[in-house]
């Protein structure tokens, strides 16, 4: 049986066909190949998922042996259990939807085939990451999605800003990948295998030759890079330079959740590493809070959503840190639904406004693009945690375990997370209000052209809005419980569950009310608060000036060292000096020796004569 291989390889076929001969095929054929193959992958996944539900046994398919050293072999194998099944469904399902959306969104782009080729390449690597049995395969996918992300962020590379954003994402991820690799090396050194099911079993069985916390922290550094957590979160907002479907697929729904998946997959390590888990929870909650505060003051529709993504990923890491791995995957799934819907809705808005992304120049779009409006509303309510939409269920579970989990839950983590939930509701409804409600602030010539998007786009929005609405009723934590048991709840806190649900609802509604008060009312209210907290506002709008700080503390010293030490001393003086010296020596000696070459044939003949004469004499003398 090769079903898993087929799931992985079909997008690769799409990449090769569209990448090599896509320009000659025409847009219609490119769309059919680009969307059809991921759709087949999705169908196979569904079939396997049903089969898995019946048998419950993980499905393992070995593709081939990549390398063999003595008795050790490195196999390329795929592993399909409940966790990777859920992830594969999300990746292929949401991925296919976003492919279909791209038909409408990219239809006027000159590089249509290149876009679909890259998207398919991304899916291929993402499926490698998700389905790989060993960390080796996962790492190949991990790097591959990074490459696809780089190529797609800089998709419109004619503008240097986009190319620069791509480079920033790629280089920032390198920092994290170094940690990830170190973790992999430590694991291989200690256990002699990279297969993740065996690693988990080894850690759960008893003490191993390496500190679980050390490995856990190394791997988490990798996750902070890929999943945009503090301190490596800086690349994700800039990554919005890519086309909007890319932001939805890679930088919201799938790739950035790779870190969450990796930690959930290697839960055996983290269950034995309380210190690493605490670090995960602390970084997660800090990221969630800081990103949410930044999102309040952003004016670019996609930047708001980008910071929201960072914040929601922080929530997932909180769940991982307190041991509720299934809940993290649950939030990962609901987040994939509503954030993809939000990004694609934003794409529809940008499409309608001929490329305008500044929310200060929007407003009053409710009647003009009604389908986008309604789907955006559902997704906004879902992320804000309004029951009974998807985000409510998953976020509520995270808050509950942050509060009551026996392994790392604390009031501090819960308090910050709850505050973040309030901020989330506020900034999302702020965005919603500024874009769709209130008076129009559009440029007149933009307003003239406002139009609803084609059916390939709105249809996808409707499907995703539906999933955002009902996705919370799929009880992922329960489904994953045989694989990822939920942490024990502190007995003293059991009675708080219902009040916490009520609090969670209240927070969502409070955020809604706050946004209504500031953005539904007269414009003077926001101006007054901006004037009153001018310093804070500038700090938030400037994203805490983290980019500037990195530039000052890392960028400039590095530049100085590169310029003064490596370039001037190392490169110019040492390497160039040596080479120029050698070249000068060769040239000088050549100048001396070249005088022998007179070009005079008579002289040559005479020299040959003398030479042969001497040879004769010599041979005679030694005869």
């Amino acid at each position: 049986m090769n079903a898993l291989k087929l799931i992985v390889l079909l997008p690769l076929v799409g990449f090769l066909v569209n990448g090599l001969i896509g320009n000659r095929l025409g847009k219609r054929a490119v769309s059919i190949i680009g969307c059809g193959l991921p759709l087949i992958s999705f169908a196979i996944t569904v079939a396997l998922f049903i089969q898995l539900g019946a048998s419950g046994q993980p499905r393992i398919e070995a593709a081939y042996t990549w390398a063999a050293f003595g008795t050790t072999t490195f196999d390329i194998a795929f592993y399909f259990d409940r966790l990777s099944a859920v992830m594969t469904l999300i990746v292929t399902g949401v991925g296919t939807l976003i492919h279909i959306y791209s038909i409408g969104y990219m239809k006027d782009d000159d590089s249509y085939a290149r876009f679909f080729a890259y998207l398919n390449m991304f899916l291929f690597f993402m499926l490698m990451l998700v389905l790989g049995r060993s960390l080796l395969v996962m790492f190949v996918g991990w790097e591959g999605v990074g490459l696809a992300s780089y190529l797609l962020i800089g998709f419109w590379f004619q503008d240097p800003v986009n190319a620069k954003a791509g480079k920033k994402a790629f280089i920032t991820n390198r920092v994290g990948d170094a940690g990830f690799l170190l973790g992999i090396f430590l694991l291989y050194h200690a256990l002699g295998t990279l297969e993740m099911d065996r690693i988990n079993a080894a850690f759960l069985a008893g003490p191993v030759a390496v500190s679980a916390s050390l490995v856990g922290i190394c791997l988490f550094i990798g996750a902070t890079g890929k999943s945009a957590q503090i301190p490596l979160h800086v690349w994700l907002p800039d990554a919005m330079a890519g086309p909007t479907p890319v932001s939805a697929l890679i930088h919201a729904a799938t790739m950035v959740t790779a870190g969450v998946y990796m930690i959930a997959r290697l839960n055996g390590i983290y269950l034995n590493a309380p210190a690493a888990s605490q670090l995960v929870a602390a970084i997660g909650v800090a990221t969630a809070f800081f990103a949410a505060t930044i999102a309040i003051a952003q004016t670019d529709i996609k930047k708001v959503l980008a910071y929201s993504t960072i914040s929601q990923l922080g929530f997932m890491f909180v769940a991982l840190g307190v041991g509720a791995y299934g809940v993290a995957v649950f939030h990962l799934m609901t987040h994939a639904f509503f954030k993809a819907c939000l990004f694609l809705g934003a794409g529809s808005v940008i499409h309608a406004l001929s490329g305008e992304q500044d929310i200060r120049k929007m407003g009053g779009l409710r009647k003009r693009i009604p389908i986008t409006y309604w789907t955006f509303l559902v997704a906004t309510a879902a992320i804000a945690g309004i029951p009974p939409l998807a985000g409510f269920w998953s976020k509520d579970e995270i808050l509950w375990f942050a509060f009551a989990s026996g392994s790392g839950g604390s009031f501090l983590v819960f308090g910050i997370a709850a505050l973040t939930a309030l901020l989330t509701a506020f900034y999302m409804f702020r965005l919603f209000w500024l874009v769709f409600l209130g008076p129009s602030r559009m440029d007149p010539d933009v307003e003239h052209h406002v139009h609803e998007s084609p059916i390939t786009m709105t249809g996808v929005l409707v499907v995703l809005a539906g999933l955002s609405a009902v996705g919370g009723f799929i009880s992922i934590p329960h489904f994953l419980e045989p694989l990822l048991p939920l942490p024990a709840v502190q007995p003293a806190l059991k009675s708080f569950q219902m009040p916490l649900v009520a609090l969670s609802v209240a927070l969502g509604l409070l955020g809604l009310a706050g946004a209504w008060y500031f953005y539904g009312g007269p414009a003077g209210r926001t101006k007054a608060i901006k004037a009153r907290f001018g310093g804070l506002y500038r700090l938030l709008a400037g994203k805490y000036f983290i980019d500037e700080a990195y530039e000052f503390f890392l960028g400039r010293p590095l530049h100085w060292i590169s310029d003064h030490v490596f370039l001037r001393i190392g490169d110019r003086a040492l390497f160039d000096g040596t080479l120029h010296g050698l070249a000068g020596l060769a040239r000088g000696s050549a100048g001396v020796l070249s005088r022998v070459q007179t070009g005079n044939l008579h002289l040559y003949a005479l020299l040959v004569l003398i030479g042969s004469f001497l040879c004769l004499v010599w041979s005679w003398a030694h005869g």
Binding site: L593, S594, G599
Partner: protein, 109 residues
């Protein structure tokens, strides 16, 4: 009456070899001394034929026909060589309008 000189017994082989050496030396001196390209070519042929002469002489001394056959082969090769060398000289002359070899010192380093 003057005494009749005794005829000097000169070996035929020695005579022929001396002639061959003379031809070779004459050609060599010509190649080194003369500047006219065509004359130099002729001198080279002279050297070659000096060597040929020595070859047939030795062949006859040894009673072998192989050497004689070899000489005919060398004649053919020499003809072909001259057939190429003369056009090269013509091309050179067309370029610089002179047969003086000193004009062709372009390979001077």
């Amino acid at each position: 009456m003057a005494a009749r000189r005794e005829p000097i017994a000169v070996d035929k082989v020695q005579l022929l070899l001396s002639l061959a050496v003379a031809m070779f030396a004459l050609g060599l001196v010509g190649v080194i001394v003369r500047r006219n390209v065509l004359v130099m070519l002729m001198c080279m042929e002279l050297m070659l034929n000096g060597v040929n002469l020595s070859l047939v002489t030795f062949a006859q001394q040894l009673g072998s026909t192989v050497g004689a056959v070899l000489v005919f082969l060398i004649f053919v090769v020499a003809t072909a060589e001259i057939a190429i060398a003369i056009p090269i000289v013509l091309l050179l002359v067309r370029r610089k309008r002179t047969l003086d070899l000193d004009a062709y010192s372009d390979l001077k380093g």
